[in-house]
Amino acid sequence: MTVSTSAGTTLGISAAAPATYTEAGYAALTFTSIGEVSDLGDIPSRIYELVTWNPIAERGTRKFKGGYQIGSQTITVGIDADDAGQTLIDTLTNSDNPASVKIGHPQLGTIYARALVMGGPKNYGDVNTVATRQITLEYTIVDQTTDGIVVVAPE
């Protein structure tokens, strides 16, 4: 069994939507890397809501799977005013349209998805800390039949 750290993982973003929600569709886009990422947070995948039902004639709780969403991701970056990816994040924060996101892990493969860029607070900290920013990406489905998440296994 082999496990991996996140070393070498990259995060890219583009305002453009792919022509098709496939590996080829996303790969045709040019992503701008977000620099100085120190924590990638949660990776998008389906998360179902738990639905419970307690009829008063019974003591046990029945459980069901309800709707799902594909999660959110809060990334931490060291603020770099020259970084094109971080500046693009600022621009996309003012947009209502979802962006295309690429997460490339050297051992675990590449994940493409669509996300709303929600922005996030900056933290300048104290004299012994690097000024950082936490940026939240809210992943969203493309339509009722497509999540828009494409996972490309490593070769």
């Binding site: 453009a16 040019t30 701008t32 890397s33 620099g35 020259d82 094109a84 500046t87 600022d90 621009t91």
Partner: protein, 56 residues
């Protein structure tokens, strides 16, 4: 399609640092992404080389 752009300020793009005024080649789709950031602008079209004057 790759296009020529000019960095309007110092910029780190995909790991490479460009100074203000540097020429940066990028796909048109990436330029459309980055133009609203104000970091790049389209490079002016290069003038065709002047034909040498005919002798005589």
């Amino acid at each position: 399609m790759m296009i020529d752009t000019i960095a309007k300020r110092r910029m780190t793009l995909n790991g490479k640092t460009y100074q203000k005024g540097d020429k940066v080649q990028m796909p048109a789709q990436q330029f459309n992404d980055l133009e609203p950031t104000g970091m790049v602008e389209r490079a002016p079209a290069e003038k065709p080389e002047a034909k040498p004057a005919k002798a005589g």
